[in-house]
Assembly symmetry: C3
Homo-oligomer: 314 residues x 3
């Protein structure tokens, strides 16, 4: 069966645990390489330093060949559809594709039409499953599991790719999730699913994990800039709030951090912060997801059967 990774919601808790186990093995030094030359294409239709570079490192650690694909210089400029672009990459030998796209659920148009697995590296305001999985791995490394943990997700819930999928996965895994931040960003969807909204001081002081979300200037069109000064005071993790955190509790943030907005500049690398560890774990999670996508294909993209005429009708 083709092992796409499109959303965490579609993964059972057992599947999540298996991916985290694989990622943890890579963190502990496991090596795994597919047989023969395997190709992966990374299609990033939106800017990204860390996700793209993280996939690249993961791919090379697995010995994969990466087919470069720059959206700016590609036939996408000639109006080619996403499907035709990926079908092209499949035809020339890609064994898997990693895609980030600005359109929510872009992958719906691909379902059932490709022979190779699709790994979602972020869709619009929708999902970002490898980010969710690296968040889960970081929490599990810290606390050994999820049962009974309290996790506060703070910030721009409405525009976040990971807030809802993290909340869903954490809840299924046994943690309690509360939301905080500006009330207008706590959307109806989250409310209707029964998540609690608490004020920032309670969120910070009572949680095992304080998971900050990034203020996404670029998604708001920049007109939220007026908030930034007051955001930190009202909803940010200030030095004063950090001092109220529980013993052993940790700070997380998907980065890039707006220093002095979501979090005090001095806290970014403090002893509670797992921000850079999240990035490290990102590589291991992506190695796991790529192994999962490739390990069941025996000989790679065996698209061409040499010397054989393709079936011609009539």
């Amino acid at each position: 069966m083709k092992k796409d990774l499109l959303t965490t919601t579609e993964l059972s808790t057992g599947e999540i645990a298996r991916i985290l186990d694989m990622a943890q093995s890579f963190a502990e030094g496991k090596e795994w390489r597919p047989k023969g030359l395997r190709f992966v294409a990374n299609l990033f239709y939106e800017p990204s330093t860390r996700t793209k570079s993280s996939f690249e490192v993961a791919e090379r650690k697995l010995g994969l060949e990466v087919i470069p694909f720059e959206v700016q210089t590609s036939s996408v400029q000639k109006g080619e559809t996403l499907y035709d672009t990926i079908k092209t990459l499949e035809s020339i030998g890609a064994d898997a594709v990693v895609i980030r796209h600005s359109i929510d659920n872009y992958f719906e148009e691909l379902k059932g039409r490709l022979k190779i697995p699709v790994i979602n590296a972020g869709d619009g305001c929708g999902h970002h499953p490898t980010q969710s999985l690296l968040d889960l791995l970081t929490i599990r490394q810290e606390f050994g599991g999820f049962q009974g943990l309290k996790v506060a997700i703070v910030g721009d819930i409405a525009h976040s790719r990971v807030a809802r999928s993290n909340a869903d996965a954490l809840t299924r895994l046994g943690a309690e999730v509360v939301f905080s931040g500006p009330p207008e960003w706590f959307d109806q969807d989250a409310h209707s699913k029964g998540y609690r909204f608490v004020n920032i001081d309670e969120a910070v002081s009572s949680s095992d994990v304080v998971m900050l979300l990034r203020i996404q200037h670029e998604r708001h069109g920049g007109n939220e800039n007026v908030y930034l000064d007051s955001y930190h005071r009202h909803f940010g993790l200030t030095a004063a709030r950090e001092r109220t955190m529980k013993k052993g509790s940790i700070i997380m943030h998907p980065a890039p951090v707006n220093r002095g907005v979501e979090i005090d500049d001095a806290l970014v690398e403090c002893s509670r912060s797992r921000i850079f560890k999240q990035m490290q774990n990102g590589v291991f999670v992506r190695m796991a997801v790529l192994q999962r996508a490739l390990e069941n294909k025996e000989g790679g993209n065996k698209y061409v059967i040499a010397n054989q005429k393709w079936p011609v009708a009539y």
Copy 2:
């Protein structure tokens, strides 16, 4: 001798056959790698998904190292000539260069001035020899040869990089070529060479290969958009026309396809279509062309003779 690949016209039918044989061997699983570390630079001065990615895959399958070169961030912005750019790449160790450029016959200024072979990946409206060769390979795989075949080339002949060079090569190899499409795009050059122009219905129903050309919006400056609706009806491969095709005949297109313009959306992946197989063959043809360029150089780019002073005059 340095083995450039600039145009198919300069290749004898024997040389064409040899390249196709090498490509077919790669399609059948042959492996070939040059000795030692070899570097290839891909210089794409025009957007291209499939050609650039196809060369990249071919290069990596041969174990070559690819020197990245992005026109947007290069010294080309500082006004450097094409010759000086390539001479630089030669100096730092490139063993071959693959070039796509918007200027017809850009390679004329390079002839006799470089030590390393040049592989033309498309020049202006001029040539695109690896596309021609992959078209030929696809036809040969299907019919075993070219003698007695009838090939219809349909569409924007005047702006096509491959229409004339394919017609030339196919004719030399023993096939009959006819052109079709809008009469105003059947240029004087093709006419003067004695090619027949037939109407679309005859072209489709009487040929073994229906080779569609892409409407090149970006080369027409977009002012042909008015044609698109009526183009499909008048000159496109509609579902109705496809039903008149001969038994065993095939459909080809260099892609990217304008679905619903040159060809009915539903026919792109029909049993007659070799469109995605052409892409697969592109990798094998490029492997062959790269092997041809590199196999006669014994130790790679041996530019520096260590410890030896360069000759100083006087």
Copy 3:
């Protein structure tokens, strides 16, 4: 100790000699590869063909994995600081970073904050140490050493990344350096350091090395274009001036060359010219600098200690 390379000024003459020895060994065919998989990231915030490609070739000759980083598509567009970008790359596994940036001394903000070495590939109008080192290597290959040599540096001294650092290093190594070119570009700083300024005819006819600097159109905002015609006549290396050069003397230029401006078109590849040899040497110097940065690190970026909780305060 972490082996950054930020400027040549901070290198002792012994350290310079050691790097040149290492580079010369690579020129003579030495091979060196670190143990295990090692990652380098190249961050080029300014256009560059030759420096970036040269580093890429050097990295691949050492068997390093290169993490692609395109400024245009990165989170730099989201306002991320240079420090946070590099910290990210360090977190995901980079063992070293190569940086070119338009800001003079950009590396000051990084000092003492990173675990991995930084190699400066050019900062603003400040430094370009690998260019300086490749210039030194080229001179040493030619003359066996520096003692007693006379080197004329000609042109846009004020805006040059290498004029002052080359002058400093050459003087320390025992050569005499004179400057020439438009007097208004001979800045106070050079004057105060005691360098002599001589007219172009004397500079060319009396020196062992005539080192031309590039007219940096893009740094002058283009308003120097009026100079170009007369520049060649007044300050360029014309065919007539070349005929006055000493026996055995050589011509150098960091490239890209403005043919017909700094140097007569026909002299670019004449027997005195070491311009393309400089490019070749650039690869060997960069291999040496990378080896120096990586050889003392035992097992690569060992950032993650698996299974170990990070220290949590309180």
